[in-house]
Subunit: 196 residues, 2 copies
């Protein structure tokens, strides 16, 4: 009953992460009834495909390869920050708290999804660290199970290379109210307490 | 720091209903790193634009104008079902409980958004009912404030035309557990109670 081309579009949209069947349906109907928006989306998809590249050094997406972060002479060559995804790199850049280089894994180890070390570019990372002159590798992975498993494996592989391996601090997020925090966070916050 | 064409795509995606800035960012990065999916999306957008039309009778989206529902000789010409959006029409078709014709308003009256009767095609509906031979108009609008305001106005405009105007029943949804239902629903369910 839904016209075939529209059903195709809905199915394609529904496979994009963050969109389910219902929101894909809503998006498709919106686009069809807002032709100027549909046209802009088509143009943007084409431009992004033509003009952006994956950086062969760090796997960031940029308009040049290597990307502007990898080639920026003002950045610190001695520190490498390992992140899961490009969006994490963007978030850390927004914080302004890091001026070294990045390495985007593109995923995390996952027993359930059958994702092993080779799938997420760990060999590439090890080669990059072996060949490079990094003094420290900061592992900036999420605090969930897969993130911590991956971080553990990375530290095991990196430490024999004689390099300092660190992880992001765990504790209260900014503005947190103590009585709204879960036990795990409070545990981290207490264990990692610092003197004034 | 996000490449310009990618930022453009994220902004365009973020304006699609159902996607916020964060999910648009996630979708854009996914599409960029899955070129075959991006290509399929481009092709689907183009096909849907070329092959689908808005039905000039009921405002449904279909491959012909008038749409297959408006032209189907097996459907009941005496009953007209008024819905807000095409997605509502699809939902009612899926239920299989209605075999008359449809009228898609394309919106609801909204004091806050400044949407009046002319914006949502009420004049078109009144003309269609005046010119047609409908015995009953079923108002199938959502049970929220805007839906009920619109339904009220529609019944006021339609009744002088000597036509039977009905609304969808209100009560417990299928499988509902009484103690999880809100007071409004329980009120409707009690007021509309039926004898065995």
């Amino acid at each position: 009953m839904i016209p075939e081309p529209l059903e195709d579009l809905i199915r394609t949209l529904a496979k994009v992460p963050g969109l389910g069947r219902r929101s894909a349906q809503r998006a498709a109907l919106y686009l069809l009834t807002h032709q100027e928006h549909l046209g802009k989306l088509q143009a943007d998809l084409q431009t992004v495909q033509l003009k952006t590249k994956t950086c062969s050094v760090c796997s960031n997406i940029a308009m040049e390869d290597p990307c502007h972060i990898c080639t920026d002479p003002k950045r610190d060559d001695s520190t490498l920050c390992v992140v899961e995804e490009i969006a994490d790199l963007w978030a850390i850049e927004r914080s302004g708290a890091f001026s070294g280089r990045y390495h985007v894994l593109g995923g995390l180890l996952s027993a359930i999804d059958g994702i092993g070390p080779d799938d997420i570019g760990i060999p590439t990372l090890l080669k990059r660290v072996t060949d490079g002159n990094f003094a420290e590798v900061i592992i900036a992975l999420s605090a969930g199970v897969d993130g911590q498993t991956t971080a553990h494996l990375l530290s095991q592989k990196l430490q024999p290379l004689g390099i300092k391996v660190t992880a992001l601090a765990k504790g209260l997020p900014m503005g947190a109210e103590i009585d709204y925090m879960d036990e795990g966070t409070l545990n981290f916050a207490l264990q990692g307490r610092k003197s004034f």
